[in-house]
């Protein structure tokens, strides 16, 4: 899946987690802008992992702060 298709899929997956209806751009941060707690992060990561059939380890998650970085990482992890 290329970056555009990956971005489209992730946009779909993030919707049920974006309870405050915040406008998400590539620069949106998970901790700061979306104010997600660790439990929400875990559920969201699990949803992405299951949909793309990938592992995003905690080590990799530590490098992902923005929505754009997440799309980059998932695009790359699909090989």
């Amino acid at each position: 899946m290329d970056r555009a298709a990956t971005a489209e899929k992730i946009a779909e997956l993030i919707e049920p987690f974006n309870k405050k209806g915040i406008t998400v751009t590539e620069a949106t941060t998970f901790a700061g802008d979306l104010e997600w707690d660790s439990l929400t992060v875990m559920d969201f990561v699990a949803a992405i992992e299951d949909d793309f059939d990938i592992i995003i380890s905690m080590n990799q998650q530590a490098e992902i702060e923005t929505y754009g970085q997440l799309i980059d990482a998932v695009t790359k992890l699909q090989g």
């Binding site: 707690d37 660790s38 439990l39 992992e49 592992i55 380890s57 905690m58």
Partner: protein, 399 residues
Amino acid sequence: MTDLFSKFDPLIEQRRALLAGGVEDPFNLVMERVISPTVAVCNGRETILLGTYNYMGMTFDPDVIASGKQALDDFGSGTTGSRVLNGTYAGHRACEEALKEFYGMDHAMVFSTGYQANLGIISTIAGKGDYIILDIDSHASIWDGCKMGDAEVVPFKHNDIEAMEKRLKRVPEGAGKLVVLEGVYSMLGDIAPLKEMIRIAKENGAMVLVDEAHSMGFIGPNGRGVAEDQGCLEDVDFVIGTFSKSVGTVGGFCVSNHPKFEIMRLVCRPYVFTASLPPSVVHTAATSIRKLMHAGNKRAHLWENSKTLHKGLRDKGFQLGTSEAQSAIIAVIMPDLERGAAMWEALLHEGLYVNLARPPATPAGMTLLRCSLCAEHSADQVQTIIGMFERAGKAVGII
């Protein structure tokens, strides 16, 4: 200059607000005198202890105390050295022999605390390029062991067998895999479906480490823990445990049948670079472990206590962490931290000590009053405790 402490400001403010309401500080209690495994004097009040990990009540066992006193006389107050230098005394070996017999395993390694056992074993065996698959509700010492090592860390939803299996199957081919589980999860007192999880872990070529800190001495026909109870102990590669719960002193250990296990003593930094346990501690531990092998009656009484308290609190209308008693921990779920602290204080005034647990130690941001039972609690004490909960719960408006 940036004040490095400014990151703690939110917590400082939360504490200030809580204590400004006049509530007694739940995290600053002093036990002035300890009368027995189940009774102490706190703030001048005689208090029933329902928040210790003294599950088997071994802290005042006469044989345990006698062996500790003897060791003080014979070996002195401390070893002043590492296990691999001058810090291995006869007592450390006796402790490891007792553990090997207790678990029926080939190797045992005693650490200075349970925290260090997890920290040391996990960070040492899972290295760069390896994968650790672990339950998201794992104890802090497991998480810290993961952080200290260089492995890729992959958590899965609590006790979710399918989530664990999916992640195991996604690990790149050829990579080393370690699955980390706990027998009893200490916040809610729930147990893991170890048999099924370990079967799947083995099918997928993973080694398995199980932390049995809260089950040792109590759960399983011989008190070896949840894995023994579910008939899968022989498939566990590493059991981690502690002396600071059922054994009744302090220290940690790992037991294993791995043929190369002894090399851990040279490569595991939290084992090498710290002083070994004092002689009195290892002698009390060895005596206690041997007595726990034959403690079937105490185990049965502790189960009765746990089931009675669980049913009693549920019948009074409290919301509990598990639908039935699964361990010696009964977690009472509080609506929020403020009312949790108020309830904690009301119970203390009744003469009952329980543990107040709050995030980040708890799952899902919950505030819990954690009750942990002891085999030395009498049936009468358990009824008294239920009455105290009822009065405090009504006073605070929780039931």
